[in-house]
Symmetry: C2
Subunit: 256 residues, 2 copies
Amino acid sequence: MASKVTGTSSAEGSQNIYDTADFFDQYIKLDRQKLGLEGAPEWPRLRAMLPDSLDSLRMLDLGCGMGWYARYFAENGAAHVRGIDISENMLDKARALNKTDAIEYMKADLEELKLSEGEYDVVFSALAFHYLVNLPELIQEVSRALKPKGRLVFSIEHPIYLGPTKGGFVTIEDGRKIWPLDAYQREGLRIRNWFVDGVRKQHRTLGTYINLLLDSGFELTDFVEWCPTEEDVKRSPGWETEFIRPTFLLVGAVKK
Amino acid sequence: MASKVTGTSSAEGSQNIYDTADFFDQYIKLDRQKLGLEGAPEWPRLRAMLPDSLDSLRMLDLGCGMGWYARYFAENGAAHVRGIDISENMLDKARALNKTDAIEYMKADLEELKLSEGEYDVVFSALAFHYLVNLPELIQEVSRALKPKGRLVFSIEHPIYLGPTKGGFVTIEDGRKIWPLDAYQREGLRIRNWFVDGVRKQHRTLGTYINLLLDSGFELTDFVEWCPTEEDVKRSPGWETEFIRPTFLLVGAVKK
């Protein structure tokens, strides 16, 4: 049985699973941790939402983890990349594996992050926002921290994926393998067992995500419910289930 | 057993269920047909996406049915309302029940509609677009037909609602009543039995709808996955299931 997360979860809902050894040891064996961007099939679609040229840009990566994206940004011309994460384990790995002069890694809790006004051209975040209780406040901060016409590009677990009160496919009586939506419109905590028991995520509807952006001064520019191609599925048969329901939602927005 | 729709479905996918007697006799008994806007719980949210004042506006209603919305628009100041529908039955009812001097009802197939450039301030459509095979062409036409800063406001069956290959809730082994998503990313024909067998609808993902708008010169301004309030559910307990998954998606966009 997987161990339960303890000791790193505050009353406010902030949770740092990455600094529990049981979790971390397994997490770093994931393709997207071992291989970086090559292990993230949705990356090409996210990349397409960023400016074609990153030359001279000031960029922020929220929940930077081991720094694979930060390194890509720095190696592709960004003048300065700030990578923020709550996990010391992650930041140690990032500094060891993916450090350049243009990158500054910083420990901070996204639940209570404060940013300077008009500092960034691009704010990026991969698979972090769906852990946050205080996401509305963070999106407001991000809007403030972006220059006019600056871009916010992020991925999250798709609300269809995170919506059910329990994760996992079910085969029903008529033989269909289905994704059992049971509480899509009930937002809030979803507890998942992922390497360890008791990982805390926050379900929000698509409407809530989109309106958070629109209400914070953004124009929506990109919206991708990631799905593999038939070619992708031939190479990685496990992705076939993405046709049943999407795992990843990728979003791009520009500050008006 | 319900009768099968025949004779009114073209090779191109256009289908006019409303002019089959079996369907029509039952359809007009629905609250939203008998009571008009009072029978459409999502109407207040749709109304909020329209300009506050409709004074002097030129408006188009695509799939106007019995003309309840057209009448509202005309009675609230619109200078001219064109209501378009494929069904003679519907247009007869509209002309009998909901006709004013400002309204012009017209028979046309939305699958091949052509519109004049820059004619309308507002294009509206309630629960029609998810029947259309040629929706991309229609959205382009709508974009052309709107004045600059003109608005498109529409409702559809939510892609989560229309996505499954079969409709209907299922109770699974652990006791949960669920909505069985089995093919969300497989777009195309969904056949439903609704008063009659064989009603043809077109499933598209949320991403497809949003990108159709963005690619046709629109900015997304409103996005509501309609959900009743707890108060609504007390009055109409049948709506409780809306918390499991949304039936209606309401969208507002402005021509850039």
